[in-house]
């Protein structure tokens, strides 16, 4: 009922239980199939809904594309906090500064996020190490918490409030006991996140300061890059990776279009200039650059680490490059240098 209501105004996407540890985001049509409200973050990062993998930005010289083209705004149901935290980074890139990205800005204004508590953690979860909770903190419109016999809903923005008002006939008043139950579930899943952090010995963000600067020439980079196949999967999976390139395509009919397409800093040509000078000729330099961007650049320019502990790059990497191991080794190296 609730989903049907949303689908009238929005293109609705929800989480479906998958075969693996992570659910997948699927599009709603005629009812929900194996939906998951709680659980953990899906395989796909939320950024897809605000910063499309490929988006037309111009229809020709002097002809800007319409950022609002493409029908109904989008709604994602079941978003987890590691993805919401990723929006802090994307907002700082696309919605701030002298120039703003109208495509991102309009989607942030129009789309609806119904976020949910994580009801358990998986092996790769380490959000707490980056200072993020395992339940929604900001950037969502509605919060939905899965309880034993139903759901606890809370509106956060006017958009969320509107949605709950429209669905008041299927909602009942909540009480103290519901909040207690939600907090109880949160404490169980929170303990699972902590357990994972302890097991993998992941250092906390308070220990990351200058961790890359101190290890620019470390052996860690070459060691980790050894098996990297430069697929760019880590970039695609990451909720904060925002790099893109502009591709111009000549259409047969005349007119030329320009697309904004996700790019990967692991690709050799990423920083290369015409004439072939390349500041990151070697793969290990590109791997180091990815960490620098997340753990040096962003904290320096806006005080945020561009990692939310979602763990997607760990499960997605065919070379088994584990960001937790890299951080652990970097912090250990820094401590050793100090001693």
């Amino acid at each position: 009922m609730f989903a049907y209501g949303i689908s009238k105004e929005y293109s609705l996407y929800y989480l479906r239980k998958g075969k693996g540890a992570s659910p997948h985001i699927v599009k709603y049509s005629d009812g929900l199939k194996d939906p998951l409200i709680g659980g953990v973050r899906p395989f796909e990062p939320l950024k897809n809904f605000f910063f499309f993998a490929r988006e037309r930005v111009i229809d020709g010289l002097g002809r800007p594309a319409d950022p609002k083209a493409g029908g109904k705004p989008l709604c994602v149901l079941g978003v987890k906090n590691c993805d919401l935290a990723g929006l802090n980074i994307l907002d700082s890139v696309f919605s701030e500064g002298d120039f703003k990205d109208p495509f991102y800005v309009s989607k942030r204004e129009q789309n609806l996020i119904i976020a949910a508590d994580c009801t358990h953690a998986i092996d790769t979860c380490f959000c707490h190490a980056l200072g993020h909770e395992h339940f929604p903190q900001k950037n969502h419109d509605v919060l939905i918490s899965e309880l034993r016999d139903g759901y606890l809903l809370e509106s956060v923005t006017w958009k969320g409030k509107k949605l709950l008002n429209e669905n008041s006939d299927i909602l009942a008043d909540s009480g103290e006991k519901h909040i207690e139950e939600r907090d109880h579930i949160r404490s169980i899943s929170g303990a699972q996140v902590e357990e994972g952090i302890k097991k993998s010995e992941i250092p906390r963000q308070t220990e990351y300061k200058d961790v890359i600067k101190k290890s620019l020439e470390s052996e860690i980079w070459e060691r980790e890059a050894e098996n990297c196949v430069e697929c760019g999967g880590c970039n695609v999976a990451c909720p904060t990776c925002h790099c893109f390139y502009l591709a111009d395509i000549q259409k047969k009919a005349g007119g030329e279009t320009r697309y904004k397409i996700w790019d990967s800093c692991m690709y050799k040509r990423f920083a290369r200039v015409a004439g072939n000078a390349n500041p990151r000729q070697h793969l290990w330099e590109r791997l180091r650059n990815r960490f620098e961007k997340k753990f040096d650049y962003f904290p320096e320019v806006n005080g945020l680490y561009a990692c939310t502990g979602c763990g997607r790059c760990i499960s997605g990497c065919p070379a088994k490059i584990d960001i937790r191991r890299v951080l652990k080794d970097l912090v250990a190296e820094k401590k050793k240098a100090k001693a």
Binding site: V57, I58, G60, L61, G62, R63, P64, A65, P67, V93, F94, G97, D98, F99, K100, D101, P102, V105, S106, L216, H242, C243, F244, Y245, L246, A247, D248, I249, Q250, K251, E256, R258, K260, D263, C265, F270, A271, R272, V273, A274, G275, A277, N278, P279, R280, Q281, E285, N289, K293, D296, Y297, E300, V301
Partner: protein, 273 residues
């Protein structure tokens, strides 16, 4: 409504000057004026091919058109070299911070250029000459691979006779008719250069290897890092600090540069590559 920063305005190529076998200067007239400060750059689109960043080489005072000097080295530039007068291209910008002319006032301004790196510097030189009285002295040291590779040959002759400007030129390898200096650009940065270094700013632009050695030489001569203004060539794609390609430490060359003082960037790795 947020303006679309990825959309260029249409522009016409109104003239093309062959500078060297691989370098051409294009006169570009945008449909709507794109005014720039010297040292700022624009993204030039070849329709259906792509775009690339260039710093205009013309006087920033001229607002309805600009000149852009381009070497054929990559995908976009080689296509640019194939187009003719009257062709339609796209321009977006200007981007970046440009040269801080105010900081140069009352100073001895030393301009060091290598090869096609003289392009953005020409815009600077023209801007400086317009108000020559504001600067204590304007000096240009320019080096190219061979006499044939020198850009703006006519203008160089004119500058040689300009009393507001001291210009010295060198080539790495001379030709038969060459009577001037032979040697790398650093040979023009001699100890007896005759500059009051404590009251001087040096501006360097050229290929990465030249930038590196010219900068080291200037430091050796006694220039402070903060008085060295370097044009960093990075892969500036979006031009507005979003696409991530041109990062140098905590900066993006497109929005925080492309001109940086050496003290701001010297601690970061791979700045010369």
């Amino acid at each position: 409504m947020v303006e679309n920063p990825y959309c260029p305005v249409k522009a016409e190529i109104t003239d093309i000057i062959e500078e060297t076998p691989t370098i051409k200067t294009f006169a570009v007239k945008p449909e709507k004026p794109v005014s720039f400060k010297t040292g700022q750059f624009v993204e030039l689109t070849v329709p259906g091919v792509g775009e690339a960043p260039f710093t205009p080489s013309s006087n920033p005072k001229i607002e309805d058109s600009m000149e852009i000097t381009i070497m054929s080295v990559g995908r976009v530039t080689s296509r640019l070299h194939e187009i003719g007068k009257g062709a339609v291209v796209g321009v977006r910008g200007p981007y970046g911070t440009g040269y801080p002319l105010k900081d140069f006032e009352g100073k001895e301004v030393l301009i060091v250029g290598g090869g096609v790196g003289l392009a953005p510097l020409r815009s600077l030189i023209l801007a400086l000459l317009d108000e020559a009285g504001k600067y204590k002295r304007i000096m240009v040291k320019y080096g190219a691979r061979s006499p044939e590779d020198l850009v703006y040959k006519d203008q160089l002759k004119e500058w040689a006779g300009n009393k507001d400007l001291d210009i010295e030129i060198t080539v790495d390898k001379s030709g038969e008719d060459w009577k001037g200096n032979v040697g790398l650009i650093t040979t023009l940065l001699r100890k007896d250069i005759g500059v009051d270094i404590s009251n001087s700013a040096a501006i360097v632009c050229g290929p990465p290897i030249m930038m590196k050695f010219a900068t080291f030489k200037l430091v050796e001569l006694g220039y402070k890092d903060k008085d060295l203004f370097l044009s960093m060539e990075k892969n500036m794609s979006c031009g507005i600090g979003k696409c991530g390609h041109c990062r140098i430490g905590p900066y993006y060359a497109c929005k925080d540069g492309p001109v940086f003082t050496y003290d701001k960037i010297k601690e970061y790795h791979t700045i010369w590559e």
